[in-house]
Symmetry: C2
Subunit: 329 residues, 2 copies
């Protein structure tokens, strides 16, 4: 391993003081052009890179942002976080930040982890995914003045903090509109139990689209927890009852289950899922796709704006999903 290149090494090599090297890096405008170039040259020649630990000690900033990685619960939806993470890491890198991972089994433990990460590593900020009604995590972070952005709206108060989200209602509305345009009227919806912000939002889009077309949505939807078997059961029940001619689902898991019901019972019923997971792509399921890379990039933008002091008040971004047409609709 080559001997360490510090700011002093660069200074000696460029025949200036440490401070001048520091100024070239942090306040280039106050250094004479000629000197600046000489220092820059020395930096590249020696391959100097500022030691983050030392910088952090003085400035209190680590240029590190933390993201929680969740266990792949369902399996199908796992890749959503995966893609988001990739986008986040990539955008953060170009903004000069690095991404750190952590795990937590519940909200309380997660808060303990915040405390640990903040005092041990002096993390600059957090990106949270999957926030819920009255989330204790966002409250804690806000109370401690820690910069953070959530991927997912705060359903109580949209102004409480910065967030990025995808307009789920617009997605299901587009899916429903697509089916309406194909001549369907009785379009069913299989979603999650009322109470989750995301689920209610997706149901609202379907309802809005139906009502706008003059179709009464009552009786045309079912509520169930996420899962393939659950989707199949709900679809069977719905088909036997309200007899819809097409189905919109709140997730690809539910859609996959619904598809199995549909195939067994009435082959002509189209099904549309949500999230455009690899499974959807693999089996040709039409699905609503979230712009995850874009969402991740916006999260980093919002967070770095706060960290650099550019942005003081909460800001938000609502992105539009797109419908990916395949065999099933």
């Amino acid at each position: 391993m080559a001997e360490k290149v510090t700011i002093a090494t660069v200074a000696r090599h460029a025949r200036v003081s440490r401070q001048t090297v520091s100024n070239v890096l942090n306040a280039p405008h106050i250094v004479r052009e000629e000197t600046r170039l000489r220092v820059q040259e020395a930096i590249t020649a020696l391959g100097y890179r500022a030691n983050q630990a030392a910088r952090q000690m003085r400035t209190g900033r680590s240029r590190l942002i933390a993201v929680r990685i969740e266990p792949t619960r369902d399996g199908i939806n796992g890749s959503v976080l995966d893609r988001f993470l990739h986008g986040l890491t990539e955008t953060a890198e170009t903004a000069g930040y690095r991404t750190m991972l952590y795990t937590a089994t519940d909200d309380q433990r997660e808060i303990v982890t915040y405390d640990d990460l903040l005092s041990s590593y002096e993390l600059d900020g957090f990106v949270l995914t999957g926030t819920d009604h009255g989330d204790p995590r966002t409250a804690w972070l806000a109370a401690h003045g820690v910069p953070f952005v959530t991927f997912g709206r705060p359903w109580d108060d949209p102004e409480s903090h910065s967030w990025v989200d995808v307009d789920g209602a617009a997605g299901t509305a587009a899916a429903t509109a697509h089916l309406l345009a194909a001549g369907h009227r009785r379009i069913g919806f299989i979603g999650w139990p009322v109470g989750s912000g995301v689920g209610d939002d997706r149901r609202a889009g379907w309802r809005r689209s139906l009502v706008a077309a003059g179709v009464e949505p009552a009786g045309l939807d079912r509520q169930t927890v996420d899962g393939i078997a659950e989707g199949e059961r709900a679809a069977r029940d719905l088909l036997a009852g309200a007899a819809p001619t097409a189905l919109v689902c709140a997730s690809d898991s539910l859609a996959l289950g619904a598809l199995q019901s549909v195939r067994a019972d009435v082959p002509a019923v189209p099904v549309i899922g949500f999230d455009d997971t690899p499974v959807a792509a693999a089996i040709g399921l039409t699905s609503v796709s979230q712009p995850l890379g874009e969402a991740a990039a916006r999260c980093v933008d919002l967070l770095t704006a706060v960290l650099d002091g550019t942005q003081r008040t909460p800001d938000h971004v609502l992105l539009q999903p797109s419908l990916v047409l395949r065999h099933t609709a």
Copy 2:
């Protein structure tokens, strides 16, 4: 935000010197029991946590390990890395390490990133996934004396560095044996082009199993790049030619494609995939499952053993996969 609690704060509170507090944390055996308890008490009372940046400056160790996060290429296989990452982060946390992410588009850029991560953040070690024949990354890391572990064997020289891998050959052999036990003799294999260590290994398991059963494998396999369409094409070709009565595939993508061929042509041909992806679970595809959580844990074990100085020579772990039986075989 509460004022910072440093080692000096704890020292004052416990009426000892800074060094004694440090000793309680790093070398408890040289401190008198009574003093140790008093210091411990002060630590918990004040909620003290050692500042990693300061520690790192002195020791040169960051308690940070880096993992590359790859873009979800195919989509189907993406979740494999996702599960691996989760396991890695979790095990690392219990060992007192944190996980940092980075991206890189090619090997050369990845090496540049190593350099950057090492000199800026003084990373302790790396976990690499998907190593190839004559990988320049491992060579660079080894040459620079950087501790690392790969998830995936070095196919040239098994002793060149520490690694964890899953016995792919055993997986395809088990899949083949399962089909043999069900009475099949002409069992086909759809795999990747010769040259990739992982692909050759998986093919070898199938071949070995067939030969052991007295079946001549010649003509019963096809080589194609990964993908659903490719799998379908290869399966169609194989079924038309050598007419196998069952198929083993090197990936779930290929198996999914093969399944589509099989369904269209000859309904009775069983298909077995590899990786037990969410897609396999969703469509009921029998598949070989890799113990990813276990693999991640072993990676952390191997890496921390090197970092703590316990292990000096390369060590390896070869894990056994398991066959997950579903509808298709």
